[in-house]
């Protein structure tokens, strides 16, 4: 790791202030991706602003149909939240399969989506759930937030404070992990809203990060069942190919995982 300067923020305002003070300052949330990246000297922030002690960024609340998750809430807290389990069980399932137990004790929802790793789980969940990402300055819809591989709509120094989700009628997530990294080789989150509309979001497979699968959304809107996807063919031309999987295999997984996500949604 290159030399850096550590700061501990006490509030959202303090965090934003601190991060504006460094040349190449970065927010440090759970650190489960940022710190390994720094250890390998692939990132060299001049300053790190620790968000783990900002009370306003923590916690889960469910009011009516609205779920609000503080950005500094850990994966373990989401996975084990009875309130979320009652309103949006697919999200608990997703959070319970990020990384491993130790990573889930530290990693946070805000950190995950700010990084927008093309194989991370949360981007698929939040995109399919049509979440709203609340920052210190504005609210951003998931459709606008995830702009490409490792890229988001966040401005310089802008801080995610919370994520808000309207509880879906049904949802499910199915992930085929990369056997080495355990990130998603392909993960598909399916959500059906009360009005019958369906959103399907795919992570791990896209060559430019998380994306929505329109054809599947249409098929499922008229018939929310795994068999409704039988006729859908997945084009592999925009899918990722690397030493772990060809685009053709990922295309197969998109369909298989989508069907399993629908089955899991019940």
């Amino acid at each position: 790791m290159y030399a850096t300067n550590y700061h501990r923020a006490s509030s959202v305002e303090d965090a934003v202030q601190l991060v504006s003070g460094g040349d190449e300052a970065k927010f440090l949330s759970g650190g489960q991706t940022l710190l390994p990246t720094m250890k390998q000297r692939l990132a060299a922030p001049s300053d790190l602003v620790d968000l783990r002690h900002v009370a306003a960024m923590k916690g889960i609340s469910v009011n009516g149909g609205t779920i609000r998750i503080g950005a500094a809430t850990t994966h373990a807290e989401v996975a084990n939240s009875a309130e979320i389990a009652a309103a949006c069980p697919g999200l608990c399932h997703l959070a319970a399969h990020i990384g491993d137990p130790h990573v889930r004790h530290m990693g946070t929802i805000g950190g995950s989506i700010a990084n927008n790793d093309p194989a991370a789980d949360y981007p698929a969940g939040l995109l399919a759930l049509n979440a709203t990402i609340v920052t210190n300055t504005r609210s951003i819809s998931a459709d606008d937030f995830f702009t490409g591989m490792f890229d988001t709509a966040l401005e310089e120094g802008e801080l995610i404070v919370a994520v808000e989700i309207t509880a879906p009628a049904k949802c499910g997530y199915a992930k085929f992990p990369n056997p080495a990294s355990r990130y998603a080789l392909t993960g598909v989150f399916v959500a059906r809203q009360g009005d019958g509309s369906v959103r399907v979001a795919v992570t791990g497979a896209g060559s430019d990060g998380v994306f929505r699968q329109a054809e599947m959304e249409q098929a499922l809107a008229s018939d929310f069942s795994a068999t409704a996807l039988d006729g859908v063919s997945v084009d592999d031309s925009d899918l990722m190919a690397d030493i772990h999987a060809s685009s053709a295999y990922r295309a197969n997984l998109v369909k298989v995982m989508a069907k399993r996500a629908v089955t899991a949604a019940g």
Binding site: A3, F176, A180, S181, I243, A245, Y249, L253, V256
Partner: protein
């Protein structure tokens, strides 16, 4: 057997320090004034070094020195050696390219060390290493063995034209060709044995300490064989004479072969300690380990197996190309020859065998012995061919094997080895019974009803371990003898120290070696200490690899115990005025048979050291040493059966059951032996289903250089294993031990692949059988 003697399932003595965090590994060592090293490594797979500019790095904070290859050469530090001479079939010696500990003129793989930076902290050393400017003239690289042999391939070493190291053969080519020509059936296959990274969980480390006052060097290192390290560093690398060099391998966190070799970093840390006047510690991070630890396997073979009309094998012809990487590592030349081709008869009576082996240089890290070393390659090739032949011939895999099993011993194969004992059908029958082989069809049908594909596969392996008779390996080109040593010291109060040249890095020697003493004298294992891993404490020894600690290391202990026992009997007989032949040793006492006379063990020991009342002419003291040189290799063998269920939608394979039935001869501690099988099978499953080192063929970059990309087996990839043993005694050593360290890794890959190919109905499958490969094979089978 006593409570703690031979055959007892004794919990390990060494565990307490490991489970309480008190193990002492090399990276835990701190020397006064110690500084930290980081190596400048080549980012290119193949390049000429035009120059090295370390001026900026030397001015960085905390930097003590930046040292490069020219300074090392000026101090006459030698090049790394390969310790086993192989001659090509035309009689010419192998082409050994020069391997400098720090490259001077050329780098040949990504990670090749160029310079060492010593600084106050590890982070400062790494910071400064990035500031060392190396001017490279980048050359084209080649990483695959087949490509390296092609006309026009980049030339890696000047003295190895066409990158060929040797072109070697074994067996009778004409007889084998004739058998194939006359065969009723010939099964032909191309077999690839994937390249693996050993990955012991403790990364390598070295701490070099030079003492100017004594002109003496101490090296703490992650080694499986500290004495061999001292020998090689003295005799070939010119670091220090043996009497001025102490090598200590303290607790070592796994080896699997990769810590046999003496690596550049160990040599350079010692040398740099003298150059800088401070103790120099280096510890490897995991990516550095991927780039620089010797890799394993990487064979491409074609094979023809010929059968007569009654399904008896009449000939086997094998052609193998083995990738040895950029330099010849310490035992690399022996692995694809004498540790591989000599096992190509497997468990079968085969009258004619011929194997041709070519080894090649490539721009990859050196390849050497990794758990099994040659024998997994032979077993995988043979056992896939056997299963395939059974399918082609329309007979059951078990029947085809039974038709061809060797049943009389000793059995001389056409490829050097003379098998001394075994009962292969007993292992096969045991494994089939445990796996309920007969009930497989019903299980397959049940799986089919759930949309899953079930398959079952077997593998009947043999290996040669307990390496080995020194004269025999010497005649085959080995540069060292492969005996082992022991010294048994009975202290004046009766406690016992056993000094062994074997080295434990997870095998549990501190317990099992003590069990030998408990068995012999009836003393508790807590009164026995096993001393190993320090050249200043222990007499010369050859270390641990090739499953040799039991068959060879323990045999040396037995010989030393024989001598101690003989003297103890004399002393006891003298003390009790009895006849030596009437002395019985049991429960910590020396008794006169048929009387109530006895002397406690400690009292006999005290008498030996007070020397007030010893038999006339007897020297005081009770301490004996022995060297054991085995009469033959040992031949563990067994049968593994694997049952899998494949998800046809994703190609993902789930291992439903894995059954191992092994014949290891005599077993000292079944609990530890089972643990060795579990670990070996897990590594074999890793090879078959998960693990592969991938180099980019254009750039020579290692694409799988961390656990993000290299799939290590994890708990949820594996089932619990069903492990059992059968026993035929090994006649080649006093305990009848065959060895168990590598069997699991040798026998398991073909069992798993045979099961998957059975499940999917397509035999065209290459390791590792990843979900995608299985999915693709399923589709092409339709």
């Amino acid at each position: 057997m006593g409570m703690e003697g031979i055959g007892a399932r004794v919990a390990r003595k060494e565990d307490k320090r490991f489970i309480t965090g008190k193990g002492r590994y090399t990276d835990d060592m701190v020397a006064p004034g110690m500084k930290h090293a980081h190596f400048v490594r080549s980012p290119h797979a193949h390049a000429r070094i035009r120059g090295i500019d370390s001026a900026a790095a030397e001015k960085m904070p905390g930097v003590i020195a930046v040292l490069a290859g020219d300074e090392l050469a000026a101090d006459a530090i030698g090049s790394l050696i390969c310790g086993w001479m192989i001659h090509s079939k035309d009689g010419s010696p192998m082409n050994m390219g020069d391997w400098r500990p720090l490259a001077q003129t050329k780098v040949r793989y990504v990670g090749d060390a160029v310079a060492i930076v010593v600084a106050d902290t590890k982070a400062q050393a790494r910071d400064a290493a990035e500031a060392v400017e190396v001017d490279y003239d980048v050359l084209p690289a080649v990483t695959g063995s087949i490509d390296a042999l092609k006309d026009g391939a980049p030339q890696i070493h000047d003295n190895a034209p066409g990158n060929l190291i040797y072109d070697w053969e074994i067996g009778d080519g004409a007889a084998t060709d004739a058998a194939i020509a006359s065969a009723a059936h010939v099964t032909e296959m191309k077999i690839i044995n994937n390249r693996l990274v050993p990955n012991p969980m403790e990364p390598r480390a070295a701490l070099g300490v030079y003492d100017e006052g004594e002109d003496h060097y101490t090296l703490w290192t992650t080694s499986q064989n500290p004495h061999v390290a001292r020998l090689v560093m003295s005799a070939f690398y010119n670091v220090a004479p043996e009497n001025k060099l102490r090598v200590i391998a303290p607790d070592v966190g796994g080896g699997f072969g990769s810590k046999i070799y003496i690596y550049p970093e160990e040599i350079v840390c010692l040398w740099a300690s003298k150059k800088t006047g401070v103790p120099v510690k280096w510890n490897c991070d995991r990516t550095e380990a991927f780039l620089t630890d010797a890799h394993g396997r990487d064979h491409v073979s074609t094979v023809k197996m010929a059968f007569d009309a009654s399904n008896r094998i009449i000939g086997l012809k094998v052609d193998t190309i083995a990738n040895l990487g950029a330099y010849m590592s310490l035992f690399s030349s022996a692995v694809p020859t004498y540790l591989y081709a000599t096992l190509l008869s497997g468990q079968y009576a085969i009258p004619a065998i011929h194997a041709n082996v070519r080894t090649v240089y490539t721009n990859t890290v050196p390849v050497d012995a990794y758990r099994g070393a040659g024998r997994p390659e032979a077993t995988y090739l043979l056992e896939r061919v056997m299963e395939t032949a059974a399918r082609e011939l329309g007979v059951s895999p078990a029947e085809l094997r039974k038709t061809n099993f060797i049943r009389e011993f000793p059995h001389q194969t056409p490829v050097i080895m003379c098998y001394d004992a075994g009962d292969y059908e007993a292992s096969l029958n045991a494994a089939m019974a445990v796996s309920d082989y007969a009930g497989f069809a019903a299980r397959k049908a049940e799986a089919q009803s759930r949309g899953k594909r079930r398959g079952i596969g077997m593998s009947c392996y043999i290996e040669a371990c307990g390496i080995a008779p020194s004269a025999a390996v010497g005649s085959l080109g080995a540069g060292v003898g492969l005996w082992e040593s022991a010294e048994v010291r009975v202290n004046a109060v009766g406690t016992i120290e056993v000094l062994t040249g074997s080295h434990s890095h997870g095998q549990g020697h501190e317990t099992t070696f003590a069990q030998l003493v408990a068995e012999r004298f009836g003393v508790g294992i807590d009164t026995v200490s096993i001393v190993h891993g320090d050249t200043d404490k222990v007499q010369m020894g050859m270390g641990t690899y090739g499953s040799r600690s039991g068959a060879v290391g323990m045999s040396a202990v037995v010989k030393a115990l024989d001598k101690v026992e003989a003297k103890a009997r004399k002393i006891a007989a003298h003390l009790m005025e009895a006849d030596e032949s009437d002395i019985v040793i049991e429960n910590g006492e020396l008794k006169v048979a048929g009387t109530d006379k006895s002397v406690p063990w400690f009292q006999m020991a005290l008498a030996a050291y007070t020397a007030h009342n010893l038999p006339a002419g007897m020297e005081p003291g009770l301490k004996e040493g022995a060297f054991f040189d085995p009469a033959n290799f040992t031949f563990p063998a067994g049968c593994y059966i694997c049952e899998v269920e494949v998800d046809p939608e994703t190609g993902k394979t789930e291992i439903i059951q894995f059954v191992a039935s092994d014949d290891f001869g005599k077993i000292i501690n079944p609990m530890i032996v089972e643990g060795q099988v579990h670990g070996g099978v897990a590594q074999g499953i890793g090879q078959a289903m998960l693990e592969a080192a991938h180099y980019d063929p254009e750039t020579g970059q290692l694409l799988t250089a961390s656990y993000m990309d290299y799939t290590m087996p994890r708990a949820d990839d594996l089932p619990s294993f069903q492990v059992s043993t059968t026993e035929t005694a090994c006649p080649s050593n006093p305990l009848g031990i065959k060895g168990c360290g590598e069997a699991g890794a040798i026998g398991s890959p073909p069992a798993l692949i045979n099961a998957i190919t059975d499940a999917i109905g397509n035999n065209d499958l290459t390791m590792p059988a990843t979900a995608e490969r299985v999915w693709a094979a399923l589709r092409s089978a339709r």
